[in-house]
């Protein structure tokens, strides 16, 4: 808050000194036109954006920051190792094990922290991958509007999207085996179909612009047009879509891991943690903390999804200029 105030004060100082100068010289229209307007710096823009953010978005941003912090510094923050086994399975919550231990005697808190790195990290990498494939092909299809490439890609995406993605993922996992690498590739490819649709749709409006035509005429290669002419102009909808896609990928991976065909042990992962300790829920009446053990990773998944959704909502609202 303090730094924000000083920024504002500085701004006012500058403008008041400028007006003072103007008053000294007497008003001249040419002077006003010729005056260099100071642009807001990136940091000032971020602050302005945050100041106007609704509480839900601020909540979402805070949650995402905390998750990112835990994910990045998992190795320093976790009290024990990811797969470190103690000979005390299903230990109660106490000073040594804050959230107890699981069925093999692994510390639940440590696994939760490592889970932030593994589950969120894998979902993030998968989404990035899906955007690289889907976005690249989508923009290429838009440049090649109604050509053979566009038609081929669009029709195959139509067909792929008609198959439920969870079922499709299960089929492919049974074909290639359930390893983490296969999981990332399969989900990324399946999800890139959705990215393809939106990337193609938004860039169709951009490829008809004169500057794209100019770039084509001066003989720029496909990559240049894609990267320097179109991509910067379709960023806002793509960023919002990235948030939504991340939620979807994150939930799909969690569901697959919960089903036992996603991220494989001993990698700590929230979906499989729920599955492994689910039986404890039966004892809720006698020991509430034990029943919370499977609920913690499930709640961690839910909280992150809600947070991302809030931020995306706010972002969409801002970039679409809706005041409703």
């Amino acid at each position: 808050m303090n730094s924000m105030n000083t920024d504002n004060d500085k701004e006012e100082d500058i403008s008041s000194s400028e007006t003072a100068e103007l008053a000294d010289q007497g008003y001249s229209a040419a002077g006003e036109v010729g005056m260099i307007k100071s642009r807001r710096t990136f940091r000032e823009n971020v602050w302005r954006g945050l100041k106007s953010a609704p509480p839900t978005a601020l909540f979402g941003l805070t949650v995402i920051t905390i998750y990112a912090f835990f994910a990045i510094f998992a190795g320093f923050l976790a009290p024990y190792g990811e797969a470190e086994i103690f000979d005390l399975s299903y230990a109660p919550w106490d000073d040594q094990f804050m959230f107890g231990t699981d069925q093999l005697g692994r510390d639940v808190l440590s696994r939760l922290i490592y889970g932030a790195r593994n589950t969120v990290g894998i979902a993030f990498v998968t989404t990035l991958f899906a955007f690289t494939i889907g976005g690249g092909l989508g923009i290429t299809a838009a440049i090649n509007n109604n050509g053979w490439l566009d038609n081929l890609l669009s029709r195959s995406v139509d067909v792929l999207m008609a198959i439920p993605s969870l079922i499709f993922a299960l089929i492919l996992l049974s074909m290639f085996g359930a390893t983490t690498l296969n999981l990332i590739i399969i989900i990324a490819v399946l999800d890139s179909t959705r990215v393809f649709r939106i990337a193609r749709a938004v860039s169709l409006n951009v490829v008809v612009m004169d500057y794209v035509e100019a770039a084509r005429l001066r003989g720029e290669k496909l990559m240049w047009i894609l990267w320097r002419e179109i991509l910067p102009n379709i960023m806002p909808p793509l960023v919002a879509e990235f948030g939504l896609r991340f939620c979807f990928v994150f939930l799909t991976i969690a569901a697959l891991s919960f089903l036992g065909v996603g991220i494989q042990p001993p990698t700590a992962d929230w979906g499989s943690m729920v599955r492994e300790t689910a039986g404890l829920i039966q004892f809720a009446k006698y020991d509430l903390t034990a029943a919370m053990t499977p609920m913690l990773p499930a709640a961690a998944i839910a909280l992150l999804t809600v947070a991302v959704n809030f931020v995306v909502d706010w972002f969409l609202h801002k970039s679409s200029g809706l005041k409703d």
Partner: protein, 327 residues
Amino acid sequence: MHPIVRTILQRLGLGLVTLFVVSLILFSSIEFLPGDFGEAVLGQAALPETVAAFRKELGLDLPVHERYLDWLGGMLTGDMGNSFSGRGAGGGQDRSRAVIDLLAPRLANTLFLASMAAIISVPLALFLGITAALYRGSIYDRLVNACTLTTISFPEFFVAYILILIFSSFNQIFPSLANISPDATFWERVYLSALPAMTLTLVIVAHMMRMTRAAIISLMASPYIEMAELKGASKSEIILKHALPNAWAPIVTVIAFNLAYLVVGVVVVEVVFVYPGVGQLMVDAVRTRDVPVVQGCAMIFAATYILLNLFADVIAIITNPRLLHPR
């Protein structure tokens, strides 16, 4: 040709192509198995002759297109082959079961669960969606919106475990395991599948309600509704005479779309509640890479999903007045 017939035929064609692609992918899944999968399925002690006979039964000695036609014919007539599990049973005996025998009773269970969830959720979602759209911006609208946004963000198993915690662990109202025996009576089934159906309902209602609300709101913003308001029509008249005839298409699409979603959402919920349905069978088969069972289950899921979406598309086309009366 009437444009509506052409559009419907196009959609049907796309549906058929999709089914064909699904069948190709499913069929090729046997090609991707590692070369020694015969030994893996039959066990280390299997004789070379047994392995050879097994490969012959799968038709691996025939050309691919013959095998595909044969396999497709089997799928369409209900002969989906035999499961891999049980092949390696002791004494060289073959204890595998026909996939269709495994599948048929479970399919009935899954359909029962899905229809139970649908019967509860469709009227509830329509009621919530329409009322939320009518009292837009009120506390009621905001409350319903916040609740549904949260349930959408929750993974299905989280919703399921919260329900188990409330209705099974703290208050023993419903059982947390839905182990339905084949000879259970109707009401026993309803009682046992109460929690799975509630979970599915919560997830589906959230989606459906939001889509219904959006459809009605975008409709109420159109000029002819404002015109009806300005000429002094009553609120019920506006809704029944002006809004509803145009709202059918989006609403039916929403319902069919969500029923299709239900088919898929059933997988996770069945595993949570150990409900003996197709979803659980498929997940188990994926884990053990029992290809014939995966093929059978996936074909049923994909076909249902594609057909429901096709149905939604066709309804949307038929009820669109602009397509019905082309200029």
